[in-house]
Symmetry: C2
Subunit: 343 residues, 2 copies
Amino acid sequence: MSALPETMLALVQRHDGYSDTATGPAIEDAAQWLEAREIARPEPGPGQVLVRLRMASVNPSDLHFIKGEYGQPRVKDQPAGFEGCGDVVATGDGAEALMNQRVAFVAAGAGAWAEYALADARTCIPLRPDISDADGAAQIVNPMTAMAMVDIARQSGEAFVLSAATSQLGKLMCSLGRDLELKPIAMVRREEAVEPLRALGAHEVLVTGDAQFSRKAADLCGSLKPRVFLDAVADPISEQVFAAMPSGARWIIYGKLGAENPELTQTGQLIFMGKRIEGFWLTRWMMDTAPEEQMRVVGEVQARFADGRWRTDVSDTLPLRDVVAKLSESLKKPDGKVMIVPG
Amino acid sequence: MSALPETMLALVQRHDGYSDTATGPAIEDAAQWLEAREIARPEPGPGQVLVRLRMASVNPSDLHFIKGEYGQPRVKDQPAGFEGCGDVVATGDGAEALMNQRVAFVAAGAGAWAEYALADARTCIPLRPDISDADGAAQIVNPMTAMAMVDIARQSGEAFVLSAATSQLGKLMCSLGRDLELKPIAMVRREEAVEPLRALGAHEVLVTGDAQFSRKAADLCGSLKPRVFLDAVADPISEQVFAAMPSGARWIIYGKLGAENPELTQTGQLIFMGKRIEGFWLTRWMMDTAPEEQMRVVGEVQARFADGRWRTDVSDTLPLRDVVAKLSESLKKPDGKVMIVPG
């Protein structure tokens, strides 16, 4: 490891623990939460690897996390960033087999928004040469979430509803749904997104701003009988869709992009129609799902990226040193993921 | 059947189907929904019995129903009333064994708020002589609901929270919880209810109007770790309690006594803490539960009333002809059930 520098540039967190707010993943000014700073390069412990970053992705969960609104506490002065891809340049005991491999990783301890990151060897996915860095950097959180949630939907029938369908995760779910011969009903905000989403796999597309939205949603719920609603928005429109769904429907919330909170206007539906409201968190799914099933999903995810069925759309790429100043602006570009690269 | 009159006094419904409102069980003026009228006495069909009413109970579900806010549609000009007790005075084919028996019944077709009602023979419970008419008239809906819901709570640990604890159903659940060595945490509106509820079986009592309510609820949730909330109120205070409960908590809504709707202020708890929101409806429980298990529950219910562990508190008794004028006023009397008798 003598060739590796002693320090590295990293986006470190400015706060500890939770903020006790619930404002969603919107970022006005990244400087409130992050600071670009030269810090000591971390050393891998037993079972860990040190990854030299090629590219890291910015997921909504990263934004929830740095704002102190995620399911695990922040650690001040540690680099942020859950997910990325890069080259293994040092290994701890038991992780030697990954040396020099290009891997997709979920960061453990020292985050992915830095020149070097730590990851547990068993969560690293060695990347086939035909996978791009961009696809590698968004290989785990979104694709695994898509696979797991569409699988939940499939168990409840053919049609399912998803919100925020133009997000990377939404697009993955539309195409996966179509490939599994399901009928994804996609909710979007902008009319322009309708045709691209149909091309990707959406069976129907509902535009939330449409004056006829309520009627159209009710009609589709009546004819296609979707019983699962995969929702990243969780606002009053979400509640309205849930209320239109048939008996036994499950409103599965996995994000909070909506600014307004939903009100439960129809508790009678929970009582008489056996509907329910719950959440989805990939971390919990991983804890509850057998390793061999997870490996099957990992293999399927990589195959889908390799043969082009899935693709990561990149809306902007920021070098580490520019992220604090430019992240908020970059996140406003629609229909793709912001990526972070060294430099 | 020659001795039976051709007509009878009944409280018939003034509306058909659903109202598409969700205003809860409060009744301003019963004349909006009900009319006392002489109508043709019904005849029992195959498998049915005709019951001469002794006493019928007024449950919140009756009020939801006549307002068109229940899980099944109203039928105009049919008598209302789900539950009562009386004597079987005529039987249809296959129901002869019940002739002349005093039974608790759930009405089928022609409701219990009438001099004569119809019931399916298999839902009639012959009453032991040591059961009073008042206990007989409230033998099914509340006691079965209490048994079923406390059983759900028991599967998730020792402590559970219940709202509207001074209702008949709430009191049944407190005493049943204690007898099963569970720890019911009872929510009430009035300070005076604290000691009576403790005596009945509540392990802790929270007064919602208490300035310290939030802190006390959070403390109890932290120390006793209740994972089930049996809620008949479903208002913003309910949501606050749910938010204070530990991971994996289930908010089980079975009524809507609260005037205000709850807002989902902490979707992160559904996502990261595996909490969920659902409903309970006795009708569904009966459809999903094996008949032998239901019979076991029926036997246990009757034994509890016979030996005095359970008792139906009656707050007021109204003859059929006075119900329309006086129901709204009678329902304001606390801590007991309004009963309807012939006359």
